[in-house]
Symmetry: C2
Subunit: 193 residues, 2 copies
């Protein structure tokens, strides 16, 4: 998606250790106009799928997911990273390792909000090693629901997550795929479609 | 706001201990159509204020804040509950006690995204004791920015937060204010405007 790639080149900051910081528009400060363009594109890409719900994970996926959901006219469910006393009843649960935060989270979704009748689009801001998305897929399958696809803002194409998901037959659409980054030169190479 | 009160009566669940569960439409599963109506109402209520940014706190405020931001055509910044290695540079920091999660969080916002030029609307899903909103106000004041107001979906009018903020001269607009709840009868009494 050209406007996302241009925005990453303009406002993204490449750091040592294969880190791309996009917190000026994607995951700390959030440009909701840009999210709207992303929502329009995800709707175009997944127009053939009978999506009735969007699933994301707190925290940085929530904003994108809500704006995207307007284009599908469906509700959003976000998976929670720790058990909260405000969720009662039974939950589906999985474990997700966060390399950013260097810890393993218990991730839960109430059984009330995902079930066998659901056709779910997963939305998240980043895809790198794929742990978060795989965890959400596990929750969806535990619920007997259908994974219709995965919509990602930025995929790190050098990391294994995208291939690991596509090899399972999951449809993954990433609006920008980074093939390489050079922190010394500040250069970013995007995969050509 | 009538449609929010009606939705709370229809889908909210009153529990012992003054707990109102609205996770079917507000803070686990999220009804973005309802959020859109809330955004329209906040825009009407704060139309006279020169708001250029919305501030919220992860996680359950983010979805509402993003949808509301479309009506103001401004970016959203969300305060983060723990230091992440993906935020570099300096941050404003405060501590917020969560009675729901029974712990104290360090809450941060990057100094890059709030400054003296900003006129900020705070958005959150709930107002009870006011700790979260007061923490966000502290961050805004540390940054030398202006608090233009506070927009809340559901205020628990029996708790002290609303009065504490209004006594400081802060403009607080809550779309539904609950004056009392009865978990035995499942009854909710809303404050009349």
């Amino acid at each position: 998606m050209k406007i996302l790639e241009e925005r990453i080149r303009k406002d993204g900051v490449v750091k040592a250790g294969n880190v791309l910081k996009v917190d000026s528009f994607l995951n700390h400060q959030m440009d909701v106009e840009l999210f709207n363009e992303m929502g329009r594109e995800f709707k175009r890409l997944f127009a053939d799928r009978p999506i009735n719900k969007i699933l994301t994970i707190e925290a940085s996926g929530i904003g994108i997911a809500c704006i995207v959901a307007q284009h599908f006219q469906v509700p959003v469910v976000f998976a929670k990273k720790t058990q909260s006393i405000n969720i009662d009843g039974e939950v589906y649960t999985t474990k997700i390792e966060s390399f950013t935060h260097k810890r393993v989270y218990d991730v839960i979704v109430s059984k009330k909000y995902i079930g066998p009748e659901d056709h779910i689009l997963i939305i998240d801001d980043f895809l790198a090693n794929g742990c978060a998305v795989q965890g959400l897929i596990n929750l969806i399958r535990d619920a007997g629901a259908t994974v219709e696809g995965v919509g990602i803002a930025i995929e790190k194409g050098q990391q294994a997550g995208g291939r690991m998901l596509r090899d399972q037959g999951i449809r993954v659409e990433s609006l920008a795929i980074i093939d390489s980054m050079d922190d010394a030169a500040g250069e970013i190479v995007f995969r050509q479609n």
